[in-house]
């Protein structure tokens, strides 16, 4: 029996109208993502990987083809997924606590229940002691943690991450990758991770999807058979990682720059 599918992308095309010309962003993309899987999209900038993520979230519409989420076609905003971008969208006018409880507030969860869940989340992402701080008082890494906690609090079935660690320094990125893996191993939330960093994709994922330059097509889907639990700090020195990196980079290299030309 096939494992249950969280996300099924079928024959998806996406055209944009930009400056009076039509741009084909995605061409004939089909893809399955299993429940509890960890899949990364890599490709040159402009290849439409973020667009695909937005379409799974229901924030953008497909021009042709279908996207099913847990068996139902995505129409309108998909409130069953969590969505985290490079630009952390935490609210500067709310404290850490009140940013994290936002989703429960919207779902009208009673206050005492909210407080308990918030406490749990703050512990999960290691923000104890900063409950009453405003985002402007936090470091970039802490803000990422707030964003993660705020999304995890409503138990989304899938997390869509669009270059979440894009603007952070190398050490911090490793630390947060490590935490993301820890959380994923605990919750087994389906993860769809968009990145331009091939090493990050290999270190984290079960599967890496390589996109071509614009128009984005799927060039290659590679299983990452590095055993878990993984140590993101050391994984880069393993032989298997090196081999996979070589293989995928050879494929990605041909595409880099293609998207920029247009």
């Amino acid at each position: 029996m096939k494992p249950p599918q969280a996300i099924q992308v079928r024959d998806v095309y996406k055209w944009f109208i930009s400056k009076n010309s039509e741009v084909l962003a995605l061409e004939d993309v089909s893809l399955d993502i299993g429940v509890g899987d960890f899949v990364s999209f890599v490709g040159p900038s402009g290849c439409g990987k973020s667009t695909l993520l937005n379409m799974i979230a229901g924030l953008q519409q497909v021009t042709a083809g279908t996207i099913h989420y847990h068996g139902r076609e995505v129409e309108g905003v998909n409130t069953r997924v969590g969505y985290i971008t490079q630009h952390d969208s935490i609210f500067p006018w709310r404290t850490v606590e009140s940013n994290i409880e936002l989703a429960l507030e919207l779902k009208k969860v009673p206050k005492p229940d909210r407080a308990a869940r918030v406490k749990e989340m703050i512990k999960l992402v290691g923000l104890e002691g900063f409950e009453k701080s405003y985002p402007s008082q936090l470091s970039g890494g802490m803000r990422k943690r707030v964003g993660l906690a705020r999304t995890l609090i409503y138990n989304p079935e899938a997390l869509l991450l669009d270059e979440p660690f894009g603007a952070l320094d190398a050490q911090l990125t490793l630390t947060l990758q490590d935490e993301l893996l820890r959380i994923w191993e605990m919750t087994r939330t389906t993860m769809v991770f968009v990145t331009h960093d091939l090493g990050e994709a290999i270190a984290l994922s079960n599967k890496v999807v390589v996109f071509t330059g614009r128009p984005g097509r799927i060039k290659l889907i590679r299983e990452i058979d590095i055993p878990r639990p993984r140590d993101v700090f050391r994984i880069r020195f393993s032989q298997r990682f090196g081999d996979l990196y070589e293989e995928l980079w050879a494929s990605l290299k041909e595409e880099v720059g293609k998207g920029e030309e247009l």
Binding site: A57, L59, V77, N78, T79, V81, G82, Y83, T85, H87, S89, F91, P92, W93, L102, A103, E105, L106, K107, G129, F130, S133, Y134, P135, S136, Q137, L138, Y154
Partner: protein
């Protein structure tokens, strides 16, 4: 803004006594503050004496009433309750008009931000309206709403509306899409978006609008009263003028100045609070 709490930098036994330094720096601060207050007092006393000297000697008292006459008129109005009665009317007109104008401005601004198409279609008309000196509408409002306070409330509301509307609209339009998307993915309704994203995000903008609007609201209320009314500070002004009561005009103008100063102090205080809502990153 202070950073995250961290242990004190200087532990016990350090060479520098921070507490002593802090205490040493205090007197100079208070001294400076006291000096400023003293200078202000001296300035007022000088002005009052000069005024008293000039009035009735160099310039006839029925042109510039002496401080003494002004004080007597003021006391008469205060003790008889006349001043308070008219002040209350003007105040009521201003507050009611400002509340109505601001609410309508926010509602319209936010609604238009939802439909860029409609906003663009309407903009030239709104701009045309914006070009009218709103005070010019006063006679029309008197015909529509009578000489009671309703016509002044309407005038104040119109003045406030335009000054707040553009800011509310721009504030709402500039909300980063990602905030709205994040909220929608959490299942937020349009009302949730207004209340929890657009309003706090635009608070700074709206406040700037109010900053300009409230002093003009006072002007609108008073001018409305001067044009036609039977109560309010503007009425008091107009009455005193009609009777060549210069002292009365001085008192009314003085009270208006006081209201203006108090209003500004209130606004400053409010600004400190809303400043917290501004983007600090």
């Amino acid at each position: 803004m202070t950073g995250p709490t961290s242990p004190p930098l200087v532990k016990t036994g350090a060479a520098i006594d921070l507490e002593a330094l802090r205490r040493a720096s205090l007197p100079s601060f208070y001294e400076r503050h006291l000096k400023i207050q003293l200078y202000r007092l001296i300035l007022v006393l000088c002005l009052l004496s000069a005024w008293q000297l000039v009035s009735g000697r160099l310039i006839p008292a029925n042109w510039i009433a002496s401080p003494e006459m002004v004080a007597r008129t003021a006391w008469g109005w205060i003790s008889s309750g006349i001043l308070f009665f008219h002040l209350r009317v003007t105040f009521l007109e201003m507050i009611a008009g400002a509340l109505i104008g601001t609410s309508l401005a926010i509602a319209t601004g936010f609604s238009l931000s939802l439909s860029p198409l409609l906003a663009e279609a309407l903009m030239p008309y709104i701009s045309a309206f914006y070009g009218i000196p709103r005070i010019a509408l006063a006679p029309l409002f008197v015909i529509w709403f009578g000489i009671g306070i309703t016509s002044k409330i309407a005038l104040v509301a119109v003045v406030v509306f335009f000054l707040v509307f553009f800011n509310a609209f721009v504030g709402a339009r500039n909300v980063d899409r990602i905030y709205l998307d994040t909220m929608r993915l959490m299942g937020a309704s349009q009302w949730d978006l207004f209340r929890k994203v657009t309003l706090p995000h635009s608070a700074g903008w709206i406040f700037v609008g109010l900053r300009f609007a409230l002093p003009r609201a006072l002007i609108a209320a008073v001018v409305g009263e001067i044009i036609s009314s039977n109560r309010g500070l503007g009425y008091l002004l107009e009455q005193s003028g009609g009777m060549f009561d210069v002292a009365g005009i001085f008192v009314a103008v003085g009270v208006l100045a006081l209201v203006g100063v108090l209003m500004n102090m209130g606004l400053n205080r409010l600004e400190e609070i809303t400043n917290r809502y501004r983007f600090l990153d």
